[in-house]
């Protein structure tokens, strides 16, 4: 299913999220099972199915990584369920170092300052990768699509680091 078509939006990475939100609400209203309570069983079932599709589509398009994966899938490159290992040694070395920094937060004299510093690094790297991803996806060539897939993989590591950092922050507060 083409999620962009469902919302009648252009299939682009750079998406107007406000517009997506208002179209989502409109569609949801239109297909809400309550609106079809007087219809046949088949109509009701279709409305339920359509509501589920609309929700899936909205959640996928809202998040940049899922949106990028969906765009690539529409172009025939499916990476959302891949189990292949990522093997870029320099990138992984950097990930390892960031993980080590996270592990050392608790022992540091000023954990808040370290957290703020790592947070800054993560935001900067994420921003850079997302910009590269946007331009790779806009080019729409097979080669750039492969590059986009690699950028998505890299971004997933950064989103994971972000989660880990938030977890540590919470634990320190407790």
């Amino acid at each position: 299913m083409n999620y962009f078509k469902l919302f009648n939006l252009p299939a682009k990475f750079d998406l107007d999220l406000t517009e997506l939100g208002s179209r989502y609400l409109k569609l949801q209203k239109q297909f809400h099972p309550d609106q079809h309570s007087s219809g046949s069983e088949r109509d009701k079932l279709l409305a339920v199915q359509q509501t589920a599709n609309i929700n899936d589509a909205y959640h996928s398009l809202k998040q940049p990584l899922l949106r990028a994966e969906h765009l690539l899938a529409l172009r025939g490159l499916k990476i959302s369920h891949e189990q292949r290992s990522f093997t870029d040694p320099l990138f992984l070395m950097q990930q390892m170092e960031l993980r080590e920094q996270l592990a050392e937060i608790e022992q540091s004299a000023d954990p808040d300052a370290v957290i703020a510093d790592i947070e800054r690094q993560l935001q900067q790297q994420k921003k850079q990768l997302l910009q590269q991803l946007a331009s790779a996806l806009d080019t729409e060539t097979a080669e750039q699509d492969q590059l986009a897939a690699d950028l998505i993989r890299k971004l997933k590591f950064f989103f994971k680091l972000q989660q880990e950092l938030e977890l540590i922050e919470q634990q320190l507060q407790d």
């Binding site: 189990q83 093997t87 990138f91 993980r99 890299k154």
Partner: protein
């Protein structure tokens, strides 16, 4: 989801955690990661003049199954030749640790890590 006793054992008492000096000519490093869960695994081997893996170390940031898989592999490769170590299959790791289907990718990561380390050694030593 419950972990098997073997996973818990390796997780609580991981074997061979640490690092070798990566500039040592007898040391080779394999780095792999799983984008889906953000796991990162480093597996290092120390190979003697006869081409036997004398020692192995790992460092893994990830779930219990990923840590157990890499810990197990460092135990298995010790005393093996590079060709023998190359034969280690993720299915053997998964079976030994009784990994559930959703954690099979952790064993794939460990297999890829040892293969990456062997490839790094061969590249360092010209083939």
């Amino acid at each position: 989801m419950a972990y098997s006793n073997k996973v818990i054992d390796h997780y609580e008492n991981p074997r061979n955690v640490g690092s070798f000096d990566k500039d040592d000519a007898s040391v080779a490093t394999g780095m792999v990661g799983a984008p889906a869960c953000g796991d990162v695994m480093k597996l290092q081997i120390k190979v003697n003049a006869e081409g036997i893996i004398e020692d192995a170390k790992f460092k893994t940031y990830g779930c219990g199954s990923a840590i157990a898989s890499s810990s197990l592999v460092t135990e298995w490769v010790k005393g093996k030749s590079l060709d023998e170590a190359q034969q280690i299959k993720n299915t053997d790791i998964a079976q030994e640790l009784a990994l559930p289907p959703v954690k099979i990718h952790c064993s794939i990561l460990a297999e890829d890590a040892i293969k990456a380390a062997i490839a790094d050694y061969k590249q360092k030593h010209g083939g």
